[in-house]
Every structure is written in structure tokens, then in C-alpha cells.
């Protein structure tokens, strides 16, 4: 069952580094930018200056489809951040292009108790100043 998503009053945002900047800014163009290695052809996360698999330095952010699958999740019930009210779903989602890449995110647009492992989700972005936070919601027509 879908549920409407309301932007929270507060979201803690990271301080981007030269390596993580693309990930947090890609949403401005509507793109989920994930580090990609030209050497071995694999995506990897978190971003860095070298591919952890083949150690190639020929790495750069590359847009992915934004489709992913919920690999693990929790419904957080405890208030940790004033203005960011529970309950909310924190999930690890695996990219369809590279299941080995997992992003932590919120899965929204669905009742927390309806989320399940294997759920197909897609990215959208929520802007906080110069940060575009990737969030995921059920692929339309699937949930």
C-alpha cells in the first residue's frame, strides 16, 4: 500500500568531500552518481580514489538507473534527531546494476510495516541546500 511522504522538518546532511561530492550533488541533475571503475567495469561504494577490487585509479562517478532492491531494512521507532520523527524505514538497498553496491537510505512512500526484503525500489532526491539526498520509494506499480 502506498503512503504519502512528507519531507521532514530536519535532515542531518553530510559535509561532502572531494570524493563524495558527486554522490550528494548528482540529484541536481536527477542522477544517482556511483563510483565506477573503468579498469574492471564494476561500480563501488562508498566513493574513493581507487577501485577496491582491481586497484585501478581510473575511477569516476557514473549515473545508474536508480533502480534497486531492498537487501535489509529496519523500522526505527526511537527518536534520535529532533524534527526527524519516527517511525521511519532505514534500508540497505542493492543497485540493480551492481548488487554488491549497497546504499543506506530511507524507503518512503510505503507504510513501514509493508516494506520487505526483495522490494523493488527507485531513487528520488530531496534537496537540502547544496545536498541532494537520495531516497527510495517502491517502483510504481510494484508495491
Amino acid at each position: 500500500m502506498t503512503a504519502s511522504y512528507q519531507r521532514p522538518e530536519v535532515r542531518l546532511v553530510p559535509t561532502p568531500s572531494p570524493e563524495t561530492g558527486a554522490f550528494w550533488a548528482g540529484g541536481e541533475q536527477g542522477e544517482l552518481l556511483i563510483s565506477f571503475c573503468q579498469g574492471c567495469g564494476h561500480y563501488f561504494h562508498p566513493p574513493g580514489p581507487v577501485c577496491w577490487r582491481c586497484r585501478s585509479r581510473d575511477v569516476a562517478p557514473k549515473a545508474v538507473s536508480g533502480r534497486a532492491v531492498v537487501a535489509a531494512y529496519t523500522v526505527n521507532r526511537q527518536p534520535w534527531v529532533p524534527g526527524f520523527a519516527p517511525p521511519y524505514v532505514i534500508a540497505m538497498v542493492e543497485l540493480v546494476e551492481e548488487p554488491d553496491v549497497r546504499l543506506q537510505t530511507n524507503v518512503v512512500g510505503i507504510e513501514p510495516d509493508e516494506v520487505s526484503i526483495g522490494l523493488e525500489v527507485e531513487v528520488f532526491f530531496e534537496q537540502w541546500d547544496r545536498i541532494w539526498v537520495p531516497l527510495f520509494r517502491p517502483v510504481r506499480g510494484v508495491a
Binding site: L12, V13, A72, Y73, N76, R77, Q78, W80, I90
Partner: protein, 394 residues
Amino acid sequence: MSDGPFGGKAVITGAGKSQVGRKLGRTGLDLTVEAVTRAIADAGLTPDDIDGVATYPGPGVPDRGFSGASQSELANALGLRQKWFISSSETAAQIGPAIEACMAVTLGFADHVVVFRSVWESTAQMDRGRASVLFDGGELPAHLQWSGPYGGLSAANWLSMPAMRYMHDFGLTREQLGAVAINARANAGLNPDAIFTEPLTMADYLGSRMISDPFCLFDCDIPCDGATAVVISRREAAAGLPKHPLTVESAGTGMFERATWDQRRDLTTMAAHDVATMLWERTDLTPADVDMAQLYDGFSFLTLMWLEALGFCEHGEAGRFVEGGEAISRQGKLPINTSGGQLSGGRLHGMGFLHEACVQLWGEGGERQTGSPEIVAVGVGGGPVAGAMLVSSR
């Protein structure tokens, strides 16, 4: 017969614990000095005999109350003449510095190293709740860059996700998690230093408020104030000391994958599995030789991870192993967490398990003494943080 990675040279000669409680209002250094001086006296030594200090995590930790004292603060306070010292957080979990102390005495860098861990998280959070010590405003620290934006500030969040996946893959139930919490509470009832001692029923457990599914309040350990310490000595230097020296038979260290909370290939295993592999590779002893285990329970689920990582049950079987609580009870085939663990004894953060292993091996457990164990396994940490030790009275 292998004498293990330290060739039988690294022994534990004393152990000490400070006052443990909630909102004690004492400083971390004060608690540390109490635990350390008790451990030194327990070993039959004086501070002048101590020539090494080791601790986790050392300075520079942002969470208030997480680091009670650094290595230099303790050494300066007691005026120690050190031949070797270390503090580290990037090591084999909270007992990593104890393993490093074993290396130091084995190599002759020191004769008697005091190893400590101290916390004052209960006093630090005062009445402002757990969240206040995890993040108190300002820039998100590096370790929260990927989870903080999503409201995942607590390790309860980071570890509940693999727990949910493990439930999905292997049929783990809340009742099985509850068996770990209930066992801890039963043991804490026999420990005069424990924080929570009143009996916990399954109904209490299942009825408590949820923190982060599947973890309820009783799946999470209890922040406290307190310090624990042990003295690790070179065997030759321990001759003539009052207590029977405990041999560190093996140490588990290692990290086979990237140290992250979310990128491990198999979400239902943790660094504990890597560390346990190395623990057993370094000794001729096997899981069947172990009489008792002290297994990290920052969250109940982590105890399950250690049970299977250390080979006490197969991968995926940990829930069924603890079901009903019999196997892990004081009368069971593998008694665990005899002090009440961190779930009920208090979050002494890792070193409490090594302290309790020593107490049990020396037969000093009082009401909670559980048989006469000769070999105790200690597994500490969760997620990408893990270290293990095998200690014997042989």
C-alpha cells in the same frame, strides 16, 4: 601441541573493576584509576611494577562518555614508568589492546602491562537521552556520513538491518533473541555489580517498546559508568605472583573485507567470522574444548553472531541454539555471559567480558561462579569491529 601465537608466554595475572552504575557523577579517569589499581593489586604488584599500558579507544573520540581516559591520562595520573604503551580504536575491537599487550610481553617489550577500558556514558547523557551522546549538533562526524542523513544515528540501526536479514534468511525469531536477554538478566541477578537484576520474563521482553526492528529495549545494552582492567604479564616475570597465571592460548584478529557496516558481501556474517577463523587457525584447540564463552552483547543479536562465528553452532543455527535458553544457561552445555553481559550487567564495552572470563577461571565468581571452567572463549565487537581471545587456566 601448539602453544599458540604467544608461545605460552603471555599470561593474565590480575583483574579489576571499578564501581559500576548509572549516573555515578564520577569522572572517567577516577573510575579508570580505581579499576587499574585494583587489577594491579589483584596481581600482587604495585604501580612501580607496571611498565606498559594499553587501552581502547584512546583520545579523539567524538561521543561523550565513550572514552573514560586515554593511555597518557592514566599513565600520567599514576606516574608510571613505561617501556611500551598503546591506545587504539582501529584494532581487534575493545580487546585489541589486550592482544597487543600479549604481543608486547611475548617480545619482551614489557613485563607487566595494564590494559583498561572505561566509560561514563550514563553520566554523559544525563537526562537528555541516548541520542545526545551519539550526535550533539554541528557537522556530522565521518562515521555518520552515510547513515546520519537517514536518521540512523545508533548502532541499533546499523545492526538491526543485518538482524532483519538474518531473520528473513534463517527464520530467527524474536523469542530466540529474547532468550539471550533473559539469560543475561538471570545471570545478572547473581552479580552484585550488575545494573539490572530483577528477573525478566519472555512476556516482559516481548512487551517492551521497540527501538529499531527487530530490537526492543531489552535487546540493547545498558549505558553505564565503569571501568575494567587486567594485567597481562610475561610468564617468567609472573613467577612468584599470588594468582595462578591464566594463559592466553590464542587471539582472533583480522578483517577479510572492507570495514564497513553495509558493504559486507554476506550481510548475515560479520567481522566476528573473520576473527574467529584466525583465532582457531592460531591454536590446536577447538570449539569442543571450550567450557564457557563470554560473548559481546551490545545487542542480543551480536551474541548469536559470535556463537556461530566461533563454531559453537552452524551458520544460520544460532537462533535455534539459544532457543529456550537451556544451552547457554549456567547449567547448559555452553554457559555464556555469566556476569549478565552488557545487556543487564552494564555496557562496560568489551573488556567486561575478558574481566569476567578471568573471574570465572580463577573461581572467584561468588554466587555466579559457574562450575570450574578451564578454557573460556571471549568474543568482542559487532559489525566491522571484532576481536577474540581464548584464555585458559591450564
